[in-house]
Symmetry: C2
């Protein structure tokens, strides 16, 4: 089979609404030693893609201007040090370049497609699961029996976080914006669902933990949630920031931190050093992949758009109606 | 030898200046299984004692109203499960009760007096070293070759922190309030001394680390130092709060935390669970005691006051002139 020399990808020509997205044709670059060329089957649509389109995401130096942080597909070529089989079905975390019919990926961030997963399921795993695994399992060091509060329970990250925390033996509180979404959180395994528009998450967490609060909060809200999250934490609790939809500037009381021995931390997935991402991939394959194989953790796909409808996919993500991942079917 | 039935201790009769300190006579309580009765030789005078006197320290439920968090002395009786030799020379971390001629202590928080240490040296070790070991070594997980910034370099905690960080192979930045104190920090092993009244600690730390900043800051200042500490941290840096002399309420930017993957945490030593304190004691005996024996780490005693002059000792601590620990000689 002769290899393709060009690919079609989607860039944001300038900062703005979904209408700035544009299809471009580019030459496929030569593979580095540690890279694979993948014929893309499906790509995940993630919030950082939208932030990048809006010009609100500081891109790491080596980032791709083609959008898309995760794909599934078939390996069709490999660099000199790569060992993947040609024809292998993989899914992969990327530093951009996923909204494309062919993509160059780092072999170390590539994982086999789990059993029973369709292309579209597999494309929705990497970005959310690397985020959850790094923050909740590695940084947060979630322990069996600990109590975890997950805001944004029906987001792509949230749907995986609920299931992973549950599979790991944690007690899961999940917040979402309406009764339908709260129900979805519970179906995914949340012990307690919180309708944040009508209920007070602190009150519910404190009541259900005998006043103690939760050990871990993975937060994507920030703003006025910050102090409330701190209030909601138990002794030795960990607050992990992965986004701040309601604002980044917050107030902190050092005395509260000291009294409860709270740890506050946060990260962005994309600028993480390669070797750390590779280690997360290895841990996920060892611990998370068996859970997916056993259907303890299932990718939740809300809607699949054809590649040509990428603008609609972005509009839909921004509407906030979804429960789970939004996927582009590429070919 | 017949055991004493009463002890003389110092309490703060009400909140206020050094004049509220008062000597009282009390019966010595019966020993619990895991306790020792110690004839006190010397006691350390620490900032939390002053805060307690001022009524600005929330006492844990089981705390003693007699001041004093650390002593050295001779074991003269032991509880049924305690194994220390009668006559053993020990120093000990306490939950209050140290400003006294006899004290009941938990055996698990007791350590042998290091070689070459006088009673007064040994009495100044526990409170500062437990604080440093827990925060900098255990929570901060300081690694060889990492860069650490220590504010309050000439405080009791600071003088130990500089030496311990240096002995552990870290690069040490220490700040202090005048040229004499900066010189003292350097003599203790700080690679860089910072006169915070005349120099910008961020500028110095950044310059000497090729713009990267420091991996760990142990802070006792808070207030306007908070945001500057965050600014001064390197990627994956840890900010550890142990006091907030300039105020507890501060502002935080979640985006900065996420971009640099910063961890912010803090603690108070006194309310730490007993089992954790006991574990710290074991780690200190294994790692820190040999450094003290080898004179890699030396207790820095600024001034020794006779027991009767406890008010003067408090006044002197509050004057901020000291370099190192202030000690009460009891008997």
């Amino acid at each position: 089979m002769s290899l393709p020399t060009e690919y079609i990808g989607v860039i944001a020509e300038k900062s703005g609404g979904p209408e700035v997205l544009k299809f471009v044709k580019r030459p496929i670059p030569e593979l580095d030693d540690d890279e694979l060329l993948v014929k893309v089957a499906a790509a995940g649509v993630s919030r950082p893609d939208v932030l990048q389109r809006l010009g609100r995401y500081t891109l790491p130096k080596d980032a791709h201007d083609v959008l898309g942080l995760e794909i599934s597909g078939t390996v069709i070529a490999r660099g000199s040090r790569a060992t993947s089989a040609i024809g292998a079905h993989v899914c992969c975390l990327m530093n951009g370049g996923g909204y494309a019919n062919y993509a160059v990926v780092k072999e170390s961030l590539t994982l086999p497609i789990p059993k029973r997963c369709a292309w579209s399921d597999a494309a929705g795993i990497p970005e959310a699961c690397f985020t959850v695994w790094y923050n909740m399992m590695e940084v947060g060091a979630l322990q069996r029996g600990e109590r975890v509060l997950l805001h944004g329970g029906t987001s792509g990250v949230g749907t995986f976080a609920i299931q992973i925390a549950r599979a790991h033996g944690a007690i899961v509180f999940a917040s979402a914006g309406d009764a339908r979404k709260v129900e979805a959180c519970k179906k995914l395994g949340a012990h307690y669902g919180i309708d944040y528009k009508n209920e007070d998450f602190i009150e519910i967490c404190k009541r259900e933990t005998g006043g103690e609060g939760v050990e871990i909060i993975m937060d994507m809200v920030g703003g006025d949630y910050f102090a409330r999250n701190v209030d909601c934490l138990a002794m030795d609790g960990r607050l992990i920031e992965i986004a701040y939809l309601r604002g980044a500037k917050v107030e902190l009381n050092i005395d509260t931190i000291m009294n409860k021995r709270i740890t506050i931390t946060g990260s962005k997935l994309r600028p993480l050093p390669m070797e750390r991402k590779a280690r997360i991939a290895q841990q996920m394959q060892r611990q998370l992949w068996p859970w997916i194989d056993q259907a303890k953790v299932r990718p939740v796909i809300d809607k699949i758009f054809p590649f040509q409808k990428v603008m609609d996919a972005h509009k839909y993500l921004e509407s906030g109606q979804h429960v789970g991942k939004i996927i582009l079917e590429i070919q």
